[in-house]
Every structure is written in structure tokens, then in C-alpha cells.
Symmetry: D3
């Protein structure tokens, strides 16, 4: 169950509202690297958590923090939209060039919300939950979470570089710090779960069930069939301590597939039968 | 540029076709843990690769392998659909219960493809590219790739458990082995890039730009304001060697947000102005 | 900013787990009538609220309640999946008919989550935020909210009728009660905003700007051009007290549209130019 | 069955074509507040109408009117695109600033349609039918329809404010008037269905089936657990005449959820079992 | 502008309602081969038609017919849902096997519509307008329309084979006939536009602008670099009368791409710079 | 199985990088007329091909070529982004007008990829596979493929016209030539399959199963019930040689539909029952 206090986790100030930066900020709300995604991901992971209870608490707790990050960003979007042009005439009056600002805005910020944020990315594509990972495998989920916080921090630093508004830089410096911590946090769970001893993921599947000769082979699909550039992944021990990397030229092990002819009543063309 | 030879990377046999398993296999084609996603992800990462060239080659090379995995799975779907019921009458004739098989199928396997695979997941939701990561940051991308192969291997082992067809188990044992290797492969790149020395991601952003007092703090959002269960993430050194984890009760650092009243011409209700 | 206590707003018990009912419950999580939608809608309305502050608090407060509803339903899905068949063999063993249960499940409940909920509807379609209303007009938003709670309560009563599990009926009886209240709550805001005096929405647009002869006319588009069945909407005063309903046969007031020929360099076929 | 006459319901003139306004108009075609949505919604409600026949006719009739609104708007988009720049060179020639117009356009207006409308919103996001309500409950549907016409009219008035083209203002003044009427029309059906006597929706579900102590309680989820600001929704009789509003501090009535440990063969990590 | 008469274009009878067939029929409503798609496609082509006016009329006219086809199919879905099980108990009572019917249904037919159609395909995926073609090139559009009617007729014949309900077969025999005609109709426009003289599409682009040595070459991407199986497309004159087909082994004409190193402030990892 | 050589099929040069043209190029990558779509379409058609084997090879072979086209375009996007403004300050410095370039960019090119391509269209809408045709009917698929190459070539010529960069024009002249060939190629298959003798599609369905009186009738849905403009489709022999075109005024052949009243427990409003 959840509670709120109507305040912001960190201050949100905008000195010079910029409607195009408002559009950019949307990526941190509804983009694949954004806060709605992590909020959903951590909460669904927590709600479905089976096994040790401590992870449920941690996931829901940090998921709860993320709701507040969406709140901060939604506020930042609204503040960046104060004074935005609502008409072609205002646009020209402000910038002298028709379309200079209006053309670069998410027009839904005017048309659909009256100068507020939307649950969309910077291109106005609505958030969709297809990429929320809650796999039931805690180790896999932790890598998904590191990914989310790594790409999230990359995004936040790019937004930081895009603006010179001191208020926005201040807000982003907080969000960047939180991303730093959250990367660490999920790595800490990986350590608790045994680190490389937990590989391959899932470690509950007996490796006797896999074709072991291909488990540590780097397959080359180069057309000439000879070039396999070397790297850490072509030599040395594997990280799970169970194999040795080796390069291998990929050869087709299966022949040409054979599908039955189409059945007469299956909608194919007669010439196919 | 790309080439093909019309053969399968590994043999695909189905002894007892099962149209419901055909539906399940679709998750490995078009699901978020599936092969279209990794193919796209590795290729786009490779095509956009800036910096050391060796990674471009590796990414495109493994992306090329993944196209062949989709091919294997699409073949497996088609073979599992051989002899599937095309009508209510056939369905009853086969199983004695109307809807037993037909009701559990992806009906597009009959209606849209004439017993072939689709670029969709197990629920018939079309693949969408919103969750393809190619961030321009190689380290972040590697974590995304480990995630993809970890969840992909979880999926493949679940499919392995779901069927008792020897041909399908054989095919999956190969794909599981490849997922094992690909998890290792991306971890090897992480090692080459410095491992934990590469943290926080992106490591090119000067940490002086973040609010350091929150960079290694685990924030508790528990309602009672006192309980913060401990874990590796509340104590000890951080993995980047730059801080110490600590628990911290989360307090609102920003007050209540203040948005301007709606402008008269912005479409709000008069009572709001 | 948000907080949590790890407990459920109301008890969630399942006496006889039913994986098909787990699928049905997903509609109340990720469907257009579901809880993710209202959570997002109330929070984004609150975060973007301009004008009287009391509504911001109420919207965020009730949005916060809704997060807990998702939590309850996600728990209910997980509990309905306890003991679900993970393989074709288990499926036959349990029910005697292959596919009886497995065929009716959201297979992602096995393949993607390991027996947990997803942010999807009952057909496995991921939640997408395209239908979240936060219009910047409080009155319009309140109608959207009544709609959400009306269709949400219709859904909840249908789920109530679908199951005979006492635990599930108990949980739903709570959610249905909350939907009752929330319908009332948004109607109360409509009353506070002036009720019918707030019509037409938005009431801040001067009606002199609209073609008044069509503002209270029910237009008949019947082919024969004469039949306009009567109803409250063809006679009597309008609800905003500003007009009288009247029936009117719809006639085209604009002629045939005239578009310019395609430009030579615009990609049209030569025959069109 | 449907008919057409090739004419426009109302005249569509554009004096000064503006490709950025063409993009804005798309929101009224394919946006969540747009005409494709209402057309689909009214028609599907009509086609699925069970019960009194008069509503079927009205819904299909007004749905038919809406097709003509899409036609008007598609024409308006095409007319606003007459003379739009097709190349970077033309763009500079027209405005002196590269990208001033082209950068603000929906580029599909050039690349995909050759200067015609698309079934998309103002950000180029294709219409999707996930938010079409046809619930089988007439009262719920009427609230959905008021919502559609309220947000639709808000949108139309914002478009009206955005342009100073007399032709476009004239067209919009007609569409705004129709939205006024349609808001009224659906409210008239609500009155015919008993108004507040129809609450809670659906009124066919016996309220004995709900947990009545929560049916008229406004639950406070404030962190401090004491503050519940008052409003019409915390006091006075409910609108269905069946209860009294009251404020209530929300307490968790369910404990911590208990999910079973993961099954050995379910793809979880060994450390979870 | 559009009109209606409340009647069906052709009779719709269902003798033995079948909720799983109701799900199948949805593909003909909201699937990629379905009627919403053609309705949208023909209408948007008509509304954006530039050039000879006769095609605008024909496109809008046939688009109008298609609205009536959606209506027929929506009616067929509703009739197939009469008497469908609304609960697990009813389901067992009817078929003796829990989930036999309910498990195979689109559960939204119960939960979201109260036994009516939705604007979705047979898997419950909402129609999305991303695949509506209105290219501004009439010839290209005609091929898109033949495609739509060809796949539409394939679908309709598969539905015809799936059912043995005489009413449904009767309805489908009408729709199949219309698809026959509509295939012909668009081919007739292709003839009017010059048939193969209209190739390549668009024929308004001067072929001097293309690399002619590759305009009629069938490129072989076979790994061994020698095998190019022959077909009509490797020999003989091209259909536009402007070239001769020839086989050609594909060789990379561009070298390895060279992208600049990442800029310091672009969010890449330091090791990439 | 697939192979690669790390080189480009054709050279990709950009003399004057243009971030807005980078956005435009995305349509050729992830748009409905783009290369991801044809790659997927040809490969899935090939992988599901039943019947004569030669078509499987050809489809997979050309699908393989298309992967290389995506590669070329992704490279072109990255090269057009070299030197793009990463901040508001850079934007003003470059163009003198804030937002002139940045406002017209796909901001994900900065924020999500660090100056690389995405699998999206020109509006930033992610590719979705809903419109990939692999129908199991070869003739229908060939028309889908002609459509793809026709609209693809229209798109490519529009991009050619939009830019004056010699490198980009050179690259496009190659892609346009390939589209020319691919249009021809699929038409060649249609000829091999019998051309018009293959109509109506599917030709394996006995035409005795369709309502023949409507198979070659052009139905007029004009409101006045008399006007049917003539064209090739209203007179003369049909292309399959089996009928004569004729005009026919469309009359409703079915009456008003009759749906049962809603069931008491189906969630409808009491007034509907």
C-alpha cells in the first residue's frame, strides 16, 4: 500500500522556460530509458517476487522512489512550458521566425494537456509496457535493472548537457546521483546472489540439458569463413568457471528445411499445391 | 552486407506437432526476450558503433547469427503446425472436445499465415522495436545484451520444460547453449572495458556534476520512516570504489510544486483561472 | 513524493487457483478499464494541475490509492497461478484434455514471468499510455474519471460473476466498493465546478466563436433524409440553459473539395498530373 | 449500411496554407480526442447495442456524422499542405532559415502521402483502437462519450486559438458547435436512463455484493496519516441517494502477501528456491 | 458526407453461436487483412486524392461499402456470442471441461463489451493505423488495395472453411464475392493508368536518376557466391519494356563504414573515445 | 543461416551532414515503406514457404539483400548526425535561431543513441511488425511485395528530391534502382504463377462458394441512389475471364439486426434489460 505527502523529493526550478527542452525531458518520463519504465519494472518485480523476502521490500521501496522521480520530471515539463506560444502569432512575436518554437514542440503539450506533461517519450510516443522485465528470475531482473539505470543515467547526463538552465542542471544532478546509486544497488544484489557463480542464468537449469560444445564457442559468421578477430570472448576461461572460450567458424548443422506442401483447404494458391 | 545459404544453423525436427507449442515458441521469435529483438539490437548497436572497431564486427557478427535463430524457430513453428485443425469440425474429430486445440492456438497461424510463423509473441502481439537498445554507450549496451540473453535463456529453458518432443528438446538445447555463450560474451566486453572501473555508466560524465551525497545512499521510502532493512546495498564500499553505501531515510527536499494558473486562452475551465 | 509499507490495502486470498481467471484478472491491471490506467491518469492530472490546489491533492491522493489496487491484483494473479501447469504433460495429467488449461492461459505467465502478473490486459496486450487523459481542463478530466470508474466497476462486477472463489469474490467486493466511491467522488468535483453551469466544456471559450445554429441541433444522417426518431436530445431545453434541442436533417454545406493537382516532384504517378 | 455524396458537411477553406498547422490538425483526426476515435466508438457502441433500439439508431447516426468530420479535417490538412516545401532548398528559399518549416512538419506529409492527411495524431503516432469504449453498459458509454466530446471541444478551441486563418477559424467554429451539441446529446441519454438513479454504474449489480463500509468513504493516503482536506466528497449525501460521504484514513487491511517459493522447474535462480 | 439506413448490406444469421468463432471473426474486423483497414485506406486515399476526380469518387464510394462490412461482421460477432459462458461454472456446465470455451475466447468479449465486437484482431490486438497506405501515388495505392483484397479474400475463405454454420457460410459467401470484385476493381484502375507502362512506380521520376546497371539485375546473396537459381526474374525483358533481367553476384561496392569517434560530451563510455 | 562481411553493399557518403535529413531517412529504415519491413516480410515469407522451393530461395535471398539496405541507411543517418548540436547553446551558435535544428531533430538521435540510427520511422514511431504480410498464399504475398517496393521507391525518390547532398543522392540512386528491380521481380513471380489466371486470389477456393451475382458488380453507395460514374470497372470483361463488370446500385439485403437483450448478469444497465 502506498502513501504521499504532496511534496517533491528534490527541488525543481526553471529559470528560463524552454518548450523544446520540455519535449526533451519527456524522454526521461516515458522513454525506454525513463522513469515510468523503472517504476513499473521494480514494482512488478516486487509484486511477483518469489523466494527471499528482502528483495520484495527493496524492489517495492525503490519503485516507490521512482514514482517521485516521474513527479519531479512532470513538474519540470510543466515549468518549462510556462509562457510557451499557444498560437502561430505568438510564436512569430517571440522569435521572429514562424515555427521556430512551435514547430519544435510536442504539440500535445498545447493541444492535449494545456501545458503539462504526458506519459510519452520525446517524440510523443506513448509509454507502452511491452519492455517491462519481471522475469521471475532475480538475477536476470537485476541485469535488466542495471541496464535501465545505465541507460537512464546516460540519458540524464545528455539532458544535463543540453540545457544551461541552472535549475534544470540542479534537478538533473540529483537524478544522476540516484542513477549512480541504483546501478550500484542492483549490482549489490548480483553479488549477494553469488555473482558469476550464478551464471549462466538461470542457474537452476542443469547444463547437461544444453549442447555443451557450443556453450563457450564464439561463432564466426564472416562470409569468407576464416576471419574471426580475437577478443576476451575467444580465449581464456569463461566467467562461470565452467568452460574455455574458443573461436569456431559457424557451419550449418541443419540442412534445408522441409515443410509440407500446403493443404488444399488452407488458402494457398493452387500453383503451390 | 549479408549472405545466406538456405540451410539451418542447427537441425529442427518435430516428432509430434503441437499447435499450442507453436504458439509458445512465438515468444522466442517476437517476444521481448526473443530473437528478433536481439538481432535488431546487436545490428543497430554495430551499425551505430563509434570508437574501437572490434566491437562493431563482433556485434554485427553475432547479430547475423541471431537471424539464423529466428529462421530455426520459424521453421519449428511451421512444423508444429503441420496437421493442425483448420476447422471446428476437425478440432472435435481430433480431440473430442470442441475448442481444445483451436481455442488454444494463435488463430492467425490459420487465418493469416496458412500454418506459418508470425513476427509476434506468444499472445499474438506484434514485435515492436521500442525496446531495442543501442545507446551509443558500449557499457550500457553490454548490460542490455546480458539482460537479453539472460531472459532469453530463462525463456528457452521454460520452453524446454514445456515440451516432451525430442526434436524440440534437441533444438532448444542448442539455443540454450548459445545463450550461455552470449551471456559470457557480453560480460567479456564489460571486462575489456574495465569492469567496475567503468562505473558509473557513463563514466565520461564528471561526477562533480552530480549531488554526491545521494550517490551511494539507499533511500528508504517506508511509511513509518524508520525501517530500512539492510543488505549489501546499505553498507560497505561501492563497486566503483568511489563511495560507501549507507541507508538514508528519504525526506522531501523540495516543497509543494507551484504551477502558474492556466492562461485564459489555454482551454481550461473558467473555475480554474 | 511517495511511501509504502509493504502491506496490502485489502486482503487477497485464493482458495482454488485458476490460471484462466489469472488471465481474466489482467484486464483489471492493464486493460483500458484497469488500474494502471487510473493510476497514471489521476497522477498526471494531479502533477499538471493548474488552478485551485485542492484538486491536486485529491488527484494525487486517489492516484496513490490506485497503485495499491494494482498491487492487490498482481498478488491475486500470482496466487491464481500457484500450481499452474508448466508443461503439456502436467496439463494432461491435471485435466485429462491436452490444452484445456494451458491453451487458455496467458502463456507469458509461464514463459516470461514464472507465474507472476504482467502489465498487460487479458489478451496479453501491453498497457499503453495513449489513452491517459490529463487535458488541463478539470471538468473534462472529471468526466474521463467517471468513465474510468464506471467501466472499471462494470469490469469488476463481471469478474465477480465469473468466479466462485470466495477469496476472489471478497477482494472484488472491496474493489467494487471503491469504484462506487470514486464514481461519486468525481461527480462531486463536477458539482463543485458548477455542474451544468460548466457546460459546454471548456466554458472559457466564448460561444460567440461557434456556429450557434448547429450548437443544439441533432443532425439526422439517415439516407432517406426524413426520419429523425425523437428523444430528449431532439426537444426541450439544453442542459447548459443556453439553447433548445431541435432535430435537423443534415445537408452538405460544403461542396466537393478541390485539391490542387500533384506537383511534378511530389512522387505521384504521371497520369495524375 | 452506409452512403455518401462526395460533398463536405461544412465548407473547408484555407487562405494561407501552413504545414505546421497541418500537423496540429492531425490531433483532431487521429488523436485520443479526435474524430476517428469518436467515429469508431459510436459505431461500435451502436453495432453492439443490446436493449432499447432507439439508442442503436442514434449512435450509428452520430457515428456517421463523425466520418464526415474526419473528411473535413483530412481536406483541411491537404489544403494546409499546398505549397509546402518538399526539399531543404525550398525550405530555405521560403523562410530564410533551414528547417524552420520542414523541421516542424510531420515529414510523413511529404514522404508518405505526398501532401495529404494520415490517420495519426499531431506527433505522427498512428491511431490505435485500444481506447475505443463500447462497454455493453449504456450509461458507462455515455460518460465515455461526454468525455470524448469534452476533450474534443477543448482540442478544437485550442486549434481555433492557434490559427488566424479565417477559413480555418470558420471550419472550427462549426466543429466546436457540433461538439457542444454532442456533449448535450449524451447527457440527454444519461437523463433518459434515470440520471443519478442509474448510479452506481452498473446499477444491475446488487450493492449487497460490495463492501459497503468503503462505498462512500474518501480514503486519505497522506503519509502523516491525519490530513484529509475536505471537499464535497468528504461530506453530505452521495449522488445515488444511498450513502453519506465521509473521510477515512486509509489503513492496510491486508497483511504482507505470501507467494509460494518458485518451483524448481520454473526458471528462477537457485538462490530463490 | 455520409448517410446510413440502419440496415445490413447482407443478411447475417447464426444458427449455432460459437464464441471461439466470434474470436476468429475479429480478424476480419480489426486484423491487417480486415475491414477497418480497407475502410480507412480507401477513405484516406479518396480524401487525399489529387489528380483525376473519378478516382476520388470511386475510392470514397467503396470505402463507404466497407463500413457496412464492418457492421455485418460486428453483428456476426455479437450473434456468435449469444449464450456464451460468463463464468467458470457455466463453462463447465456447458462442456464438461473447465476452460474448454472460456479459455478459447477473447475474454474482452465478456469483460469489456458484454458480448459484442471490438475493433481488434483475433488475438485481441487493437487495430492500429500504421499500415494504412495512402501514398499520393495512385498506382502504388492500387497495388496496396489489391493486396488488401487478396489477403482479405484469403482470410474470408479460411473463415468459411473453419465454420459449418450455414448462416455464417452464407454471409461469408457474400463477402468473398465482394473481395473478388474489389480485386478486379483495383486492377482495372491499374489498366486505366497504363498498366505496365506505369512502371516503375512512381513513373514521374526520371530513370536517369537511378543507377541503371542495377535496375534489372537479380542480385545473388548466396554465401558460396556462385549459385543463382534461374527464374523469370533472371532472364527476358522487364515488364516496363526498358531493360533485360540478368543475374548478378552481389559484391560489396562500399567499403567498411567510418563513423567519427564519439564526442566527449555525448554520453559514450570513456573507453570509446 | 546467414553471413556478413562488414562492408556496405554500396558506398555511403555525406558531404554536408544534416540532422533533419537524418530524421527523414528514418522513414526508409523503420517506416511502413521502409527496409525493416521488407526484410521481415521477405524472410518470413521464405521461412514459411510451402510448395515450390524456388520461391523460398528467392525470398530469403532478397530478404538478405534488404538487411544490407538497412545497414546503408543506418550508416547514412549516423553520418548525417556528425556535428549535430547537442545543446541549446550549440544550436543557437550554429544557426542563430534557437530550435532551428534541434527542434526539427528526432531528439532520440541525441538522447537515446548518441548520434546513431533507431529502428523507427521519421516521426520516431518504433517499427512494429503488425503489417508484415506472409499469408501462405504466394500470389497475395507477391502483390504485397510489389506494394512494398512501389511505396518504397516513391519514398526513396521523395528523399532524393529533398536533399542536394551529392553523396546522399548517389546512395539513393542505388536504392531506387534496386526498388525498380524488386518491383519487376515480384511481378515476374506473378507471371510465373499464371498472372490473371491466378485470380481471384486465392484461386484454390471454388467460386461456387461465393455469391456470384456480386462477384463482378461495382456497387454504388451514392446517397441519391442513381449516380454511378463509369470506369473500366463498370463494364467489359473481368481480368480473370470469368465475368463481366457491371454497375449496381447498392441496396440493403439484410434487415435491421436483432441482438438479444442483455443478460441480467452481464454488466449492462438495468434500463437496457
Amino acid at each position: 500500500m502506498f502513501y504521499q505527502d504532496g511534496k517533491l523529493q528534490y527541488r525543481v526550478r526553471v529559470e528560463r522556460p524552454n518548450p523544446i527542452f520540455a519535449r526533451a525531458l519527456q524522454q526521461a518520463i516515458g522513454g525506454v530509458e525513463g522513469e515510468i519504465r523503472v517504476m513499473m519494472q521494480y514494482l512488478f518485480q516486487g509484486w511477483g517476487a518469489r523466494g527471499p523476502k528482502k528483495y520484495r521490500d527493496m524492489l517495492i521501496n525503490t519503485g516507490t522512489e521512482e514514482i517521485g522521480h516521474i513527479e519531479m520530471l512532470a513538474t519540470a515539463v510543466a515549468l518549462n512550458l510556462e509562457g510557451a506560444p499557444l498560437s502561430m502569432q505568438e510564436d512569430v512575436a517571440n522569435d521572429g521566425v514562424a515555427g521556430a518554437v512551435l514547430g519544435g514542440m510536442n504539440l500535445r503539450h498545447i493541444l492535449s494537456t494545456g501545458l503539462g506533461a504526458t506519459p510519452e517519450n520525446c517524440n510523443g510516443v506513448p509509454f507502452n509496457a511491452s519492455h517491462v522485465y519481471a522475469s521471475g528470475n532475480l538475477m536476470a531482473d537485476m541485469y535488466a535493472n542495471v541496464t535501465a539505470e545505465a541507460t537512464g543515467r546516460v540519458l540524464a547526463t545528455r539532458l544535463y548537457g543540453m540545457t544551461d538552465d541552472p535549475g534544470m542542471k540542479d534537478m538533473l544532478s540529483f537524478l544522476i546521483a540516484r542513477d549512480t546509486m541504483h546501478q550500484q544497488q542492483w549490482l549489490a544484489v548480483i553479488e549477494e546472489l553469488g555473482g558469476s557463480a550464478g551464471l549462466p542464468i538461470p542457474n537452476s537449469f542443469p547444463q547437461s540439458g544444453e549442447k555443451n560444445e557450443f556453450s563457450y564457442a564464439y561463432l564466426g559468421h564472416h562470409k569468407d569463413g576464416t576471419t574471426i578477430p580475437s577478443g576476451r570472448w575467444t580465449q581464456g576461461p569463461s566467467y562461470d568457471g565452467k568452460g574455455q572460450f574458443e573461436p569456431m567458424i559457424s557451419e550449418p548443422l541443419g540442412g534445408e528445411p522441409e515443410l509440407a506442401r500446403p493443404r488444399p483447404d488452407s488458402g494457398a494458391q493452387s500453383e503451390q499445391m
